[in-house]
């Protein structure tokens, strides 16, 4: 099969992208004896915030998922669809939205002020937790909702004929399901929050709210202490790897979960108190998720007309980076959409983008000025980070195409090219469009590696918005955030739509 060498090349470049930078980081790292108190504090904070974020996300997700599982109401489908949106929402956009609601002069403080209540402070642990719950409550809700919908309808029917009350129902049906699902949901959120960088960068900071990732960034950006950055990177790598392996055993991440628009038919939902509880949780979740987004849009509308040339230039960079990393990611993913390819791609979850960035920096430095290559490095790292999700989306369909049509392909004697052009790609169009949309949106909104490298001439839009925020030019920051939001959603929509047309 002609595809063989192509898969091998793809696998080798991905493996090289893992091994090269990691080796560079290991070689450069200080001995672990060089641990400073601040490093321990960063490690402690990383673990603390990830634990609390996962705990809160899952805790709130349970009542929301239960309400969505057992109620039918107008807008339910929209809300469930919205739960998938944070995946492609740029962190900096969400942060600006949360600031507009919970920040110093945000909605909440303005409401509290006349009551004489003390002002809420968002920066620090509470801000980091707020943002993490904002991003991961929807994910946890989806995971748990899946668990609820997977309970066989017979069990509810049986419960109804037995006349089981709420308590009995909980003990016999719902609690066992949650015991199965919740540890996995917790683990997924925990692992995601371990590598939190952009949230910690914007809402954390200071010695008491610095994650390892943020510490890597600071030692690189402020002290230019490569050895220390490398050592921290190594620590982060070990942490993410062990947590990732544990999470992998407990759960499977749903990227494009299907069938969540169903509702479980039940016979115990006429209870008034239960209806009120469900309405409360759904309303709260919708308010918590939608208000920040509405505020970003509202604040951005006036700001978007005042954007300077440098913001538009950054937007151009971001579009190029997004398109480049989408192309690269798909070039990797198509030949790797197999079982072993998916295992290889999982390294994209374990390896933090910042560690990868430091490693690439170390490799590139003897030959070229890494700062000039910032956009290329960002596009490459973004492609790598999206790879596990893209493979998760493409693999089932790719394998189905191969098994369904190998005999016909062989009987016709199709060349590798004809197979790709007329069969494989056309039949893979839908998941391909969806995967490309995710990659483009993720890359568009990424505020990670680029922060390590970028100089003002090579900023991407998320970085530019962050810089505007840091300079207290909030109106322009809001305008930039709205532009970023529109571009991310626009790219996603364009690719996803492209995959649907005519299929």
């Amino acid at each position: 099969m002609a595809a063989r060498p192509v898969s091998i090349i793809a696998a080798l470049t991905v493996a090289g992208l893992v091994i090269g930078p990691v080796a560079a980081v290991i070689l450069r790292a200080e001995a672990f004896g060089g641990f400073r108190p601040a490093d321990w504090q960063a490690l402690r904070f990383t673990l603390l915030q990830a634990t609390l974020s996962a705990l809160l996300s899952v805790l709130f997700a349970i009542p929301v998922a239960r309400a969505l599982a057992r109620r039918q109401f107008p807008g339910r489908g929209m809300l469930v669809a919205l739960l998938g949106a944070p995946f492609i929402l740029p962190v900096i956009v969400a942060v600006l939205g949360l600031l507009a609601v919970f920040g110093q002069s945000g909605l909440l403080n303005r409401a509290l002020e006349p009551l004489g209540l003390p002002e809420l402070q968002i920066y620090g642990l509470q801000g980091v937790l707020l943002a993490h719950v904002f991003f991961n409550l929807p994910l946890a809700t989806r995971l748990i909702l899946q668990g609820w919908l997977a309970i066989p309808a017979e069990q509810f029917r049986l419960a109804a004929t037995l006349g089981m009350g709420r308590r009995a129902m909980w003990r016999a049906v719902e609690a066992p399901m949650l015991r199965r699902i919740v540890p996995g949901a917790f683990a997924v959120v925990f692992v995601i929050c371990l590598s939190s960088f952009a949230v910690a960068l914007t809402l954390g900071g200071g010695p008491r709210a610095t994650t390892l990732e943020l510490a890597i960034y600071q030692s690189m950006r402020f002290d230019f202490d490569l050895a220390r950055a490398a050592m921290l990177g190594l620590l982060q790598l070990g942490l993410a790897l062990s947590a990732g392996l544990i999470a992998l055993r407990v759960t499977a991440v749903p990227v494009a979960a299907k069938g969540l628009d169903r509702r479980v038919p039940r016979w115990d939902r006429t209870d008034r108190r239960a209806i009120c509880t469900d309405a409360f949780w759904v309303g709260l979740a919708a308010l918590f998720l939608l208000t920040p987004l509405a505020m970003v849009t509202f604040n951005g509308l006036s700001g978007i007309t005042t954007l300077g040339a440098s913001v538009w230039q950054a937007a151009g960079h971001s579009i190029l980076v997004a398109l480049g990393s989408t192309a690269l990611c798909l070039l990797w993913a198509l030949p790797l959409a197999t079982r072993w390819g998916e295992w290889l791609g999982l390294s994209g979850i374990a390896l933090s983008p910042l560690v990868l960035g430091i490693g690439l920096f170390l490799i590139v430095r003897p030959f070229a000025n890494p700062f000039e290559l910032a956009l290329y490095v960002t596009a490459t790292v973004n492609a790598f980070v999206s790879l596990p999700f893209v493979l998760r989306i493409l693999r089932p369909e790719a394998e189905a195409i191969r098994t369904d049509y190998t005999r016909l392909r062989a009987a016709l004697g199709l060349s590798g090219w004809a197979w790709l052009r007329w069969v494989f790609l056309p039949r893979l169009k839908r998941p391909l469009g969806f995967a490309a949309g995710l990659t483009a949106a993720l890359s568009m909104g990424d505020l990670g590696v680029i922060a390590l490298f970028a100089d003002p001439d090579r900023a991407t839009l998320p970085l530019k918005v962050y810089q505007l925020m840091g300079a207290y030019r909030m109106e322009q920051a809001a305008g930039g955030a709205l532009l970023l939001l529109l571009l991310s959603l626009g790219l996603f929509w364009m690719f996803d739509r492209g995959g649907r047309v005519g299929s």
């Binding site: 005999r407 004697g413 199709l414 052009r421």
Partner: protein, 235 residues
């Protein structure tokens, strides 16, 4: 001048198939036997989907044992998935004519139209499978093997999903086409009536053992014990 299976032994998992027989060129032969007896395995061996352990396959004296399915002088109609559902019939047939690129070259369009006309589907080139009935889909698949232009045609119960009268109609069409092209046809079927209708000769497959072709009417009227058990005495 024949298709020879010379002391063939093939293995698929724990299932073993042995065959040693000759099919005359231009003959139409039915292959009958219980399900799991090895009928489809036999076709896989001839088509090149299952490599043989020992023995040799020859077509008109030339060895074809080591050839890939596409290199063999053999075309096959499967039980299902004979055409790609996302392509138009015309694009499907272009792939059969030109498997390297799938492009329609000079004169291809005329050949495609001609083959469609011969199976009674004139003007169907722009349709997709989803826009056609089961019978029309079978006809389109037949047009595909016509364009492949291979002298041996294998049919792996391709019309099993059709109703009785439609199936009879398709078998008649295959007979007509095979006659005109001088094809050698092997038809797998579990229905003895198909054999009577379509094939002068019949091969019986029993527990992995393939017997030599015999005259169909004689075989079905005086079945050996194994075949009698399968036919249930009604053949």
């Amino acid at each position: 001048m024949a298709l020879e299976l010379d002391h063939i032994e093939a293995r698929s998992g724990t299932f073993a198939l042995t065959a040693d027989l000759t099919v005359d060129a231009g003959a139409r032969v039915a292959i009958i036997g219980a399900s799991g007896s090895g009928k489809s395995t036999l076709l896989d061996v001839i088509a090149g989907f299952l490599p043989v352990q020992s023995g040799a396959l020859r077509w008109k004296g030339d060895g074809i044992t080591g050839m890939s399915p596409a290199e063999r002088p053999v075309s096959i109609l499967f039980q299902d998935t004979n055409l790609f559902p996302h392509l138009t019939i015309g694009q499907n047939l272009a792939l059969a004519l030109n498997p390297a690129t799938g492009r329609i070259r000079d004169g291809d369009a005329a050949r495609i139209d001609d083959s469609l006309a011969r199976v009674g589907l004139a003007g169907f080139a722009e349709r997709r499978l989803s826009e056609m009935s089961g019978g029309q889909q079978s006809r389109a698949a037949l047009a595909r093997v016509l364009l492949q232009g291979r002298p041996v045609l294998l049919l792996d119960e391709p019309f099993a999903a059709l109703g009785p009268s439609l199936k009879a109609e398709m078998l008649d069409l295959v007979s007509e086409v095979a006659e005109a092209e001088g094809l050698t046809v092997l038809l797998v079927s579990h229905d003895p009536q198909d054999a009577r209708r379509f094939a002068a000769q019949t091969i019986v497959v029993e527990e992995g053992h393939v017997s030599a072709p015999e005259e169909t009417a004689h075989l079905l009227d005086n079945p050996p014990p194994g075949l009698r058990a399968y036919l249930g005495g009604t053949g």
